[in-house]
Amino acid sequence: MKRTAVLLVLLLAPLAAAQTPPDHTPVDLAHAESIAGPPRAARLTGAALEAEAKHIAAVLRCPVCQGLSVGDSPSAMATNMRQQIRELVAAGFDENQILSYFEASYGEFVRLQPPLRGVNWLVWIAPGLGLLLGLGVVSWVLRGASAETSETPAAVAATGPAVDVVPDPLPDDPALAKAVLRVRELAYGWPGGVRPRKA
């Protein structure tokens, strides 16, 4: 039995050491508590601890490789932060507390997902607003274009002349107007691009 226990320790010790960076001193839990308050969550162990730590590391920005999360970054700083996250999760700090702990040192920039406060709202709603605005502009321009094309001979024959639309409108730009007239001449056979008057 004793021999088995010793063998297990010898086999598992390297695994345990691999999880902890060399020359590591534990995170100052008192300092963490002074920033984030007393731990609010259950103390996790094993697979649950690793899953929670991985999840939190994925939403923190690596201070060195700033385009990467702490979870993805190969830097020594990220390795140290991952270890601190594990220790804080094991001590019972929840996700918000751990994010606040790192935010106290690095500022909001350390969060990969900007929290929903102040000017950060712009980051979350601007893309949707931009899409709606773009759709509105496209719709407005197309509506104007369709009003111009409703005066083609085929359209007039099918529906009758539009009462409210200026017949055969031309663009304000003289060069463009000249080009439109030329197109009409070629497309419809109107002399000079002007609709022939009905006899």
């Binding site: 201070p63 140290n80 601190q84 040192s105 690095y106 500022g107 407005w140």
Partner: protein
Amino acid sequence: MNRKVFVAGLAVTLPLVGLMLVSLGRDPHKVESPLLGRPAPPFSLRPIGGGEPVTLESLRGKTVVVNFWATWCVPCVDEHPVLTAAPQRYGSEVVFLGVVYEDEEPTVQSFLREHGAAYPSLVDEGGKVSIAYGIYGVPETYFIAPDGTIVSKYVGPLRRDLLDGFVQEAQARTVTRRSDAR
């Protein structure tokens, strides 16, 4: 000119131009430290080469300059003479500390033997203190007032005039407090 297209174009470009004008002169890489004006995170670190740990708490009442550096960092090597010469100029009222960032102890010892050491360089095992101080890279230097508050932070290699300015600012916090107490 098509007025609708012109107006739509202005609606898109004017906010973008406005945003660019507002950002002119600002460094997009600069991130303000949230630690300014707040108590400096405590630490207790052993010096390179051994000895009793140095704790920040024991230095209360003095102005403290904490410089995060590494031997592989070229700007750190550039500023080293400025920092090494400083303790002699300021005397005992200002304490200088180096915190070694992601470096090997033998390499640091060799560097200090060659370039000189006028104040303790401390070993930050596991980067605990670097994380607590929000270090993005090196060199970064914090200036702590005698009451333990972080007064300023400087990113980059220090020149003598910059160092003097920041130290005076940290010392002035004492003067302000003394006049408040009268």
